[in-house]
């Protein structure tokens, strides 16, 4: 069989040592009445080339142009990110429980934790979560551990709707109510009119910035005393937009060298204050020395984790996002401070330029708050524009109406550096189709 390492001769020799007549006898502990009596019915075996040919024939059309972000952003991935991260020493190694054999992985986590803390302006960060949505949940669960009597969590309507849905799933079993803070229809920012007392009593106030509609949040109305969980799905924005004040900062580093791959796996992050370190979920890597006095790294404060603390653990998380943390770490190191700032600036300018171009076509930008590389456009003036473009494999952003009935004819548009080389042509194409309507 493919990937098999044991020959028929080996099998015979090993069975002789074991003292078994055949392999079936090794399964005697499995009662006869539970055993399968037929072969498994799955496709294959397919040799390597046949498998690749089959996959080619399965592929359908792809969009020529797509302006969808909505929590997952198409950014350019430098060749070195793919090359360095494909090394088997990263790909095929285990979680670094044996630090003598995993200083490379541990050093990567230490740098990842540093990058997360630097970008979010927090004191410490952990070694990654599954993704932004589950990191958001873990932040709220930590807030609930710190305020066990709280019965309410506030979250902005501007938090990614799929993140909110995941949060709702978890909170249902915590007997905690999730209250939504609406988006101001003029600015696109969260409208927080809840009293300071109510915010103080709540476990957390969850705010995303830039929010799902692209608006950079200001925290107006959010009480100083509130326990703020900040969410960031477009981490590139953090290179130039100051992080919002937060007790816990979570989100996703997918933008940093991690392909979208239908939304998973990505690189969730979790950063907070040093005071809360013993309440944090997930893995932490820290510095120490070895018996010869050399600096070395190891997993630390593992007594918070499930494999030691079991039902009293801060989280059940075990395997997280190692390779995606690696990709984002290598990406950020390669980009450097100047590279990442320049890229973020160009994203913001390109999006602004494109939004201005759409305005000139008679479309409107309904929200007044500043945005980074994503914004809402109102196509009420050209309601058929999206379909018209789609006929030509041009995905004009994400139609918001299906998720938000009050966002009729509105689309969430994302512009990144991947669009920049053809941005004028892309705008021209929108112009041509708009004129046809």
């Amino acid at each position: 069989m493919r990937y098999g390492a044991v020959t028929a001769r080996d099998r015979r020799a090993m069975l002789d040592v074991v003292g078994a007549t055949d392999v079936a006898s090794l399964f005697q502990s499995v009662p006869a009445d539970v055993r399968m009596k037929r072969p498994l019915n799955v496709e294959g075996p397919l040799p390597e080339q046949d498998l690749l040919v089959k996959l080619e024939t399965m592929k359908g059309p792809a969009p020529r142009v797509a302006l969808i972000g909505a929590g997952l952003y198409r950014h350019f991935v430098p060749a070195n990110v793919d090359a360095l991260c494909a090394r088997s020493e990263w790909v095929t190694s285990y979680t670094p429980y044996q630090p003598e054999l995993a200083q490379g992985t541990l050093a990567m986590y230490y740098e990842f934790q540093t990058y997360v803390a630097q970008l979010t302006g927090q004191e410490i960060a952990n070694g990654g979560m599954y993704d932004g949505s589950t990191a958001t949940v873990e932040a709220v669960l930590m807030a609930l551990r710190l305020k066990p009597d709280a019965k309410v969590v506030y979250a902005s309507e501007g938090v990614h709707p799929e993140y909110l849905a995941v949060l709702r799933t978890y909170l249902r079993f915590q007997n905690v109510e999730l209250k939504i803070l609406p988006i101001d229809p003029k600015t696109g920012r969260t409208s927080c009119t809840t009293s300071t007392a109510d915010q103080k009593a709540a476990a957390a106030v969850v705010i995303q910035s830039p929010n799902f509609f692209g608006a950079i949040e200001s925290l107006d109305g959010v009480a100083e005393e509130a326990f703020v969980v900040s969410v960031c799905t477009e981490a590139l924005s953090l290179a130039i937009v100051p992080p919002i004040r937060a007790n816990v900062a979570v989100g996703d580093f997918q933008s940093f060298g991690v392909p979208i791959q239908l939304g998973g796996p990505t690189a969730g992050f979790f950063a907070t204050r040093k005071d809360y370190v013993r309440q944090t979920p997930g893995r932490l890597v820290g510095k120490t020395v070895d018996m010869d006095g050399r600096e070395a790294l190891c997993i630390t404060l593992a007594t918070r984790e499930q494999f030691i603390r079991r039902e009293k653990a801060t989280s059940n998380i075990c395997t997280a996002s190692g390779l995606m943390c690696l990709r984002s770490t290598v990406y950020l190191s390669l980009m450097g401070r100047k590279g990442i700032e320049a890229l973020a600036t160009q994203n913001a300018k390109a999006a602004r330029w494109f939004a201005d171009g759409l305005k000139n076509l008679g479309l409107s930008i309904p929200y007044s708050a500043p945005f980074f590389n994503e914004f809402v456009v109102d196509c009420s003036a050209k309601p058929k524009l999206y379909e018209k473009l789609l006929e030509n494999d041009f995905v004009f952003g994400l139609p918001l109406e299906s998720r938000f009935p009050n966002q009729k004819n509105r689309y969430l548009i994302n512009v990144t550096e991947t669009h920049v080389p053809r941005l004028r042509e892309i705008l021209d194409e929108v112009k041509t189709r708009a004129h046809d309507l």
Partner: protein, 477 residues
Amino acid sequence: VRTISEPPIFDLSDEGHEGFPVVAPRKEFDGIALDFETRNDGCGGFAQTSEIDVVRHYTRLSNLNFDINRGMYPLGSCTMKHNPTLNEKVAADPTFAHAHPLWPDRYLKAHKQVMAELAADLAEVSGFDEVCLQPAAGAHGELAAIFMIKAYFEAKGEGATRKIVLIPDSAHGTNPASAAMAGFSCKQIASGPEGVLRLEDVTPHLGPNVAAIMITNPNTLGVYERDFSKIADAVHAAGGLVYMDGANFNAIMGIFQPGKIGADVMHFNLHKTFTTPHGGGGPGSGPIGFVKALAPFSPTSATPDSVGPVKAYMGQWGMFIRAWCYIRSLGGVGLRQVSEDAVLNANYLRKRLEPLLNLPVKAATLHEVVFNDKKLPNGLTTGDIAKRLIDFGFHPPTVYFPIMVKGALMIEPTETEPKRELDRFVAAMEVVLKEAAENPEMIKKAPHTTPVRRLDETRAARALDLRWTKAPRAEST
């Protein structure tokens, strides 16, 4: 304090270097002003290095790692098998790597076909009616399943009474941790002397307050849970549900189908059984299979009974395509051969190691075997032996787990180890144990050949240093 051979990237920083150029500046953007406040702290202290610095840094760091491509990882219950290169290549195909889950359906034809076929394959190998692919890792799959169980009882009006989940002492820590996250209280049950959970150990705990039992089968001793079906019947008769932890699924493909012998829901670890890489701690992928009665409660069910999504988007697509390729590379006969060879390899190692190490549980084992430190001379521990094996080119086995075996040394070779490698492992163990008797200091100070030696882990927890910070500049005098 001496410094490690490769300093953090931040120590290599020199502001004289240029940033990475992705796209040349565009004239049309010159007049665009940013209408928001920008940060002025240099991204909080980022590094600025040259490309060769970065290339060498991550190449050198990678050289400090052990990996499957270098040697055997006999980690019990972790199933560290060969990760096919083909699957990496396919996952990196731009058609798949850059696809966005919110694109219109017409662009996701192949992707959805892969997902549907993978779900059908997993249903076939496990015998469950339906599969939900969404959970991000094994523990996340457990949690999704526990949520479904909770919702199931709430829908039946038994949510307030069925508050207990029974968990044997051989379980992974994720089991009780997941159950606790759904608000269940956990009751631990001791396994019998033969390393299995006996029906009579379980029955006294059953009643109207028990929601479910979580059983790993084969369990973490590698032993088939002999009473599994009887226990399942008893739990069902008492109105409860049976969760099977699929961590050890590598032992049973084509041998038995959990969904046909009493389990109601189970998680898969695509990063164990189905060869997606462990990646130094992820990403994993933890689909769950379940019986029809639980289907309405699935995270991805379209009914109002759904517990709701446990993760944004569809799940770990990058792992789905790898597992899909793996299954097709082997076919049904191949998958059964995987389990047969995994079990044969483990039994061969057991037989060869039995004269050397103490075997606390004598029952027949499948894909893994657990020894302990009872016979070790000169006060040596399991940890000592594990560390010395490193010097012979092996990653240590799993140590001190399962927790019910004192000083456990848990070995799972997997089917992708050739006999030659198993023999090498036995030979190494023979040398180590001879040394244990004659030169215990050699073992107590092991490993001797690694980039760093044994660590002061207490110091790491006491003087927390979790991130790089700029070293304070020495005062010049």
